[in-house]
Symmetry: C2
Subunit: 387 residues, 2 copies
Amino acid sequence: MVIPVFCTDQRTMPKFEYALTHTDGRARRGSLTTAHGKVETPVFMPVGTAATVKGMTSDAISATGADIILANTYHLMLRPGAERVNRLGGLHEFMDWRKPILTDSGGFQVMSLTDLRKLSDEGVEFRSHIDGAKFWLTPERSIEIQNYLGSTITMALDECTANGVDARSAANSMRLSMRWALRCRDAFEVRTGYGLFGIVQGSVYPDLRIESAAALKEIGFDGYAVGGLAVGEGQEAMFSVLDVTAPALPENRPRYLMGVGTPSDIVGAVRRGIDMFDCVLPTRSGRTGQAFTRRGTLNIRNARHAEDPRPLDADSDYPGVGQVSRAYLHHLFKAKEMLGPILLTMHNLHYYQDLMASIRGAIEMGSLDEFAAVFHEEQASGDIEQI
Amino acid sequence: MVIPVFCTDQRTMPKFEYALTHTDGRARRGSLTTAHGKVETPVFMPVGTAATVKGMTSDAISATGADIILANTYHLMLRPGAERVNRLGGLHEFMDWRKPILTDSGGFQVMSLTDLRKLSDEGVEFRSHIDGAKFWLTPERSIEIQNYLGSTITMALDECTANGVDARSAANSMRLSMRWALRCRDAFEVRTGYGLFGIVQGSVYPDLRIESAAALKEIGFDGYAVGGLAVGEGQEAMFSVLDVTAPALPENRPRYLMGVGTPSDIVGAVRRGIDMFDCVLPTRSGRTGQAFTRRGTLNIRNARHAEDPRPLDADSDYPGVGQVSRAYLHHLFKAKEMLGPILLTMHNLHYYQDLMASIRGAIEMGSLDEFAAVFHEEQASGDIEQI
């Protein structure tokens, strides 16, 4: 069915594997070895939707400290097309990013971006948001596309259960995802150094989450994701689901919380045993003028920054970005200059990577609780506007 | 009148001076020493209109090989305002660019971008293209603004004579510019390492160009610009004006051809004794998908590039940019991703800098004629689409 994307000798390729090196409470410090390099966990993956982290060259992404990025199957299957990317050597070659890439299954965007969807046990029919063309996405097709892309980590196709559904609907939806997970496992071509992750669903219902985790473990995956969160349920409900779900997942496999989140979400989820994160927040917010810092967020478009010579973030050690003046960034946003979004994207991604490095350090030292206490105090201070 | 922008000790500051090191026919190889560093000539200055070369960080500008950039007085006086930039430490500090900056006088943009202008011997009244606010620009105010910006090279305010005017109108316009040039010289605060350039006008009329050059030499400037060209007169007429004008300028001062041009314009102008250039072509064209290469130009938006795995420019040694595939760049432009304009801006600026380095090398070797012959042959070949 599928065409091998990388010609590297499979015999010398490192195995796809997760090594747990430290724990601190339920928090885990480890590393993930892949065909495209090693990733230290807990890790944050910047989102590179259409084979580009918006406004960032490959070198600039690396310079923020990122060792793995996420790309969106839905966008790439529509444009430029998975088969075309494959003919061009795969996604790593195409976008000149030589480190690991995780691709989602396309399911979430089909549900959130398209009209005229028809969902059945077989899969989902939809129309492209670009030109209205009709497409089919099935578990088998999602895996095929991700293989064409040459994804280091392939995600199983699932239905992301909507927030607020009753237990019966959540169960039906989750069980559909579990049937699809099995079909994904069967369709996935095992290659050394590449991994396939299953996705736990079950909404906010503990028994459904546990049933889902058990079903996935029974099938057997290289990693386990927690899906259907960050869809409006709130941080407390999300953490409650993690409290139930993370302990139900295997210790020796990475755990990935999809689409999360704010710095506070990440710190809380790490403390509940999560290893991997992705979110558009640092990049999308950066493009609209919001900067993340240790001491809270700052909107550079506010008039108060117009003549402020202070650096964006005195705590940042990011050369050429963190030390740029607020007045200059304000000017760039007012003048609608591309460089404003570019610099704030760089800054925010660097802040997120810096946060993850601090979290990893704290777990190694067994001091994550102390780190979290200081983190929350500084975030809540809103001091960034004053210092 | 003006506030010193840089506090550097004036006694240890290098003098603003041009050293001519080689000639090849009328072409000149030299270097310009300034308060903000040395510039090898002939040189091309990328345009950073609103205190940013669109889409480029300071480090990225330097990485293309640029040692000096141009910024636009008109845009900066309107937003964020010259006095504000001054309070923020000057333009170098504001945009975090530590090498020389040349600013134009604002006159050209007032004429081309604004409505409701009133021109008199005193100066020009106009309304902002941003919000319609009323402004005055006089020779004294233009110099004051450029001093507030901390420009390494300040340009005298002139009237850029329109293409196609008769000799009488051209003479009147040029003589107004000469009266303004004298007022600019008087208003300019002499500081070690900083320079003021006068601008030769006179349209396509040889006697007027010679009269203008003589008037400026009489006043005395640190450099001499040739203005009023690249306004629609065509390359042949432009070269004819340079044939007359360049020999009328002092040997020991830099010569700057404003707003020029295509690679072919630059090669021809260097051969006629020009040392400095600026143009929006590499940056503006890059944003719309046109790439400059040794073997002609290429429009990456053309469908033929959609599945072309070849590098944008096999001749480019620019890491991370020249070797990106045409298919990827095509995808980025089709998907309206910021990274497309960013990468082509980088590529085009690098191509221009590379061209200037080759020109400088050829003058040193005394082989500019041979270089120009090969240059024109390769440009005309259109081979870039084939190789």
